[in-house]
Amino acid sequence: MRRNYLSNPTTLKIDLMLNGIRTGGGLYEESSEQSGRAGLGVDLVLPKGTLVNVPSGDDFTKNSPYILKEDKKGHYITDGEGTVRVEVVPRPAFYNEKTSTGVLFSEIATVHGSYAVITPSPNCEFFDKSVECKYCAGNFDVDGTDKRLFTVDEILETAEAILKDGTSRIIYLSIGFSKGDDGGVELLAPYIEAVKKHFNCLVAVESLPPKENKWIDEAYALGADSVLYNLEIFDSELFEVLCPGRAELIGRARYLEALKYAAKIFPGGTVASHLIVGLEPPGSTTQGIDALTDMGVVPILPIYRPQSGKALRIEPLTAEIIIPIYKHLYKAVKEKNITTKWVREISTVTTPIEGRLLTGEYKKGVLSIIDGFYSSKLGMKAAWGLSALRRKLRVKEVEGKSSKSPKKTSKD
């Protein structure tokens, strides 16, 4: 007997992400194109403004109890017993537009709600070495083939289109593995600098951890406001099995070390790491949440979307089993005073703040005013301003220590 999740937007979001949705008829065709490169899925706004990207059209969604329907009043979801009104998020208009070089914006960027992911380099060298992550869906068209890098101008045009569209206000620059000690910072540097130079927006960097901490400093100094090193699997043995490249070429210990260091350099709540729910036992994910939050890192918990031929999911995986994980996540960030204003309104994951609805703590009073402020345009501007001020205070220009010309000095 299935529980009724329709009444709570967070439980509904989790269950929808787990089971997907059937759309039926023309609606499916319409919605399947909504999410750009992110693949099949429908972006919906559930009650209380809860944004979700619901898998739709994948094999595993065929048995979903949820159906998306439309009547005169608009869209609604039904599980056969009850219904709930939802809004279908229209496909961003700029997806159909192209850069001046003729590339579709939807090939470069994907909107996920408050943030949009841009992948300047669609290559991950793990594929070349055949050590790619076992769950890697190639969602961002990432593979080992030597695809060309998007130019800085192409990325700038894309960022401009995203910001004009207005849904996303944080630009995520995301790359896969590249050899070198810098964790891709050198590759991303011109993009970060260019976006920062042209737009007053926040920039997050999603990459693999660099070998040395100085690159983390460098990323911050360049203008990154947030950084994500996605550990994905906390259990050390499963990590080695499912992420052979990460385990062999970076190592789990380095992930944790880099995250811990980054949490000291970046503002509170801006260093995050994904732990995929469904690829390891819930207890292990919970341990991961504790370990990350102890370091001041925000755990982000996407749910694994099974693909045909990649049945990696630990079964049974039901909402009953994973809802306690999200409850634990909310409690952990709250207890450890980790700010959650950065990780919010994301369609593809259940954010820590959404976990609040699982604990019975509903938005009210001062808290909801603050939350509302941070999700407003003004709030984002304030966040950008504070972030820029913090960087100005923290980053000190110094004469290069290995300066080759101590010939000139005015101290004589």
Binding site: D217, L393, K407, K408, S410, K411, D412
Partner: protein
């Protein structure tokens, strides 16, 4: 330009940043207060304005809140603006011979370094004389001192630094722990400091002091006379320096054979001695001889520029190469310092300040000199030695008449101790360069530097008291 992430609490950083504008407001208040205060007895209006400018420059030079050269620009702008000296005269002072001598010396030193001659001499001498650990220390020490007689001491430190670092690495000395590692870099820094006081060329501070002396009193000091006056001091300090060096830290290596492969490797990489090096060497040698023998007649700057022209005529150097070595900021710093010094002297402000301070504490010419030497050495540990001269020399010259001391003697009493900076990395670039090796810590430097500073002060006073009268510099 690199960067560092400042991890101190944000509130502290905010306060520190917020203090900066407040600091400048504070300076403006001080400036305004002095300008508008009732005229004290014995001080003219111009004198009061000169003191107000002096106070601003003093605060800015000591705090290093803006580059030293830019502080000098303040003086250049404010002196004519407040009517202390006319505009024409102010900018005329900027063209003081000392400023141009410094420029010429920079260009010459740049040519020598660019030709590779100085590095070749350094390597050859270390290879030839540095057979044992102690002798290698002595070679570096004497070599730094000798080269600092001909070019700016910080240029020497910068030039020898990579060689000494290679020696330390080849001997596998542990940074921060090896006694011999500390000695290598101390000998480099001390050699530069001591050698730097030996001639006009070691640091531009002596020409600056002579420039101020010339503008305010019309007197001057010759290239050769200066070296003669400080010669015993240099010899004694070199001796004391070597004794302290070899006793202060344990020599924890038995042989320096590996270091010689470094020298030979570097010499080999330089190839054979070429025409350019010979020619630059000859030009430099002739220049030094001309400074010593004809300096009084033709002027030091003219001789320097003649040599510079010769270098270019003979195509021994290109302007592009030279630009790397010339610190244009220092030219502004020195020009401004001379202008400020002259303004203080001409307006009577220097004398007035001297009357209010040192004149009350000193009872005889000897104590005046001892006091000036003391304050100079104290200040020079924390402030640019050029700034120390700009601050103290006008006051000293102002006081000279009161105690019947030749202003030339006062100039020595400030210009020489201004070079004796042994204590801290910020005292002089040579110390800073040595510390940057990581083989030497600030604690090590202070520990043994205090012996050298104390000895330097005593030796200076003894030389001034007993030797100077013998060469006609009585007081």
């Amino acid at each position: 330009m690199g960067f560092e992430i400042d991890r101190r609490p944000l509130w502290l950083l905010l306060i520190i940043r917020g203090l900066r504008p407040l600091f400048f407001v504070g300076i403006a208040v001080v400036f305004w207060y002095i300008l508008t205060m009732p005229l004290p007895e014995g001080l003219s209006e111009e004198g009061r304005s000169a003191i107000a400018i002096f106070a601003v420059c003093l605060i800015l030079w000591v705090s290093n809140a803006i580059p030293l050269a830019i502080t000098s620009l303040f003086a250049i702008v404010l002196v004519p603006l407040l009517g202390v000296i006319s505009r024409d005269e102010t900018y005329g002072l900027f063209g003081n011979e000392a400023v141009f001598f410094i420029l010429g010396a920079f260009i010459l030193a740049g040519a020598v370094m660019h030709s590779g001659l100085s590095s070749r001499i350094a390597l050859a001498m270390m290879d030839r004389f540095g057979a044992s650990p102690k002798r290698l220390i002595l070679s570096i020490f004497l070599l730094s001192a000798m080269l600092s007689c001909f070019m700016s001491e910080h240029a020497v430190a910068a030039m020898l630094f990579p060689i000494v670092l290679d020696i330390a690495k080849s001997l596998k000395l542990s940074p921060g722990r090896s006694g011999y590692g500390k000695l290598l870099f101390l000998s480099l820094a001390w050699g530069c400091v001591i050698g730097g006081i030996a001639t006009f060329l070691g640091g531009a501070r002596v020409p600056l002091a002579v420039g101020i002396l010339q503008e305010t009193t019309g007197k001057t000091i010759g290239f050769f006379s200066y070296s003669l006056a400080v010669f015993p001091m240099v010899v004694i300090m070199l001796f004391v320096g070597y004794v302290v060096l070899t006793r202060s830290f344990k020599i924890d290596v038995d042989s320096v054979e590996e270091a010689h492969s470094v020298f030979r490797g570097r010499i080999h990489a330089m190839g054979k001695l070429v025409y350019k090096e010979y020619a630059v060497g000859v030009v430099l040698l002739l220049t030094v001889i001309a400074w010593a023998t004809l300096g009084g007649r033709f002027g030091l700057a003219s001789i320097a520029f003649t040599s510079v022209v010769v270098l270019f005529v003979l195509r021994l150097v290109r302007w592009k190469d030279i630009e790397e070595y010339v610190n244009w900021g220092i030219i502004l710093l020195y020009g401004g310092a001379i202008i400020l010094g002259t303004a203080l002297e001409q307006s009577g402000a220097a004398l007035w300040m001297a009357e209010m301070t040192i004149a009350n504490w000193a009872s005889s010419p000897w104590t005046v000199i001892a006091l000036f030497a003391f304050f100079t050495m104290l200040f020079t540990e924390g402030i640019s030695n050029a700034a120390v001269i700009a601050i103290l020399l006008p006051v000293g010259i102002g006081l000279a008449g009161r105690f019947d001391i030749d202003p030339v003697i006062i100039t020595y009493a400030i210009a020489v101790p201004a070079g004796l900076a042994f204590l801290l990395p910020l005292s002089t670039p040579a110390n800073a360069i040595a510390i940057s090796s990581n083989y030497l810590t600030v604690k090590d430097m202070v520990k043994v530097g205090i012996i050298m500073s104390t000895t330097g002060y005593i030796v200076f006073n003894l030389v001034a008291r007993f030797y100077w009268p013998l060469i006609g510099m009585g007081y």
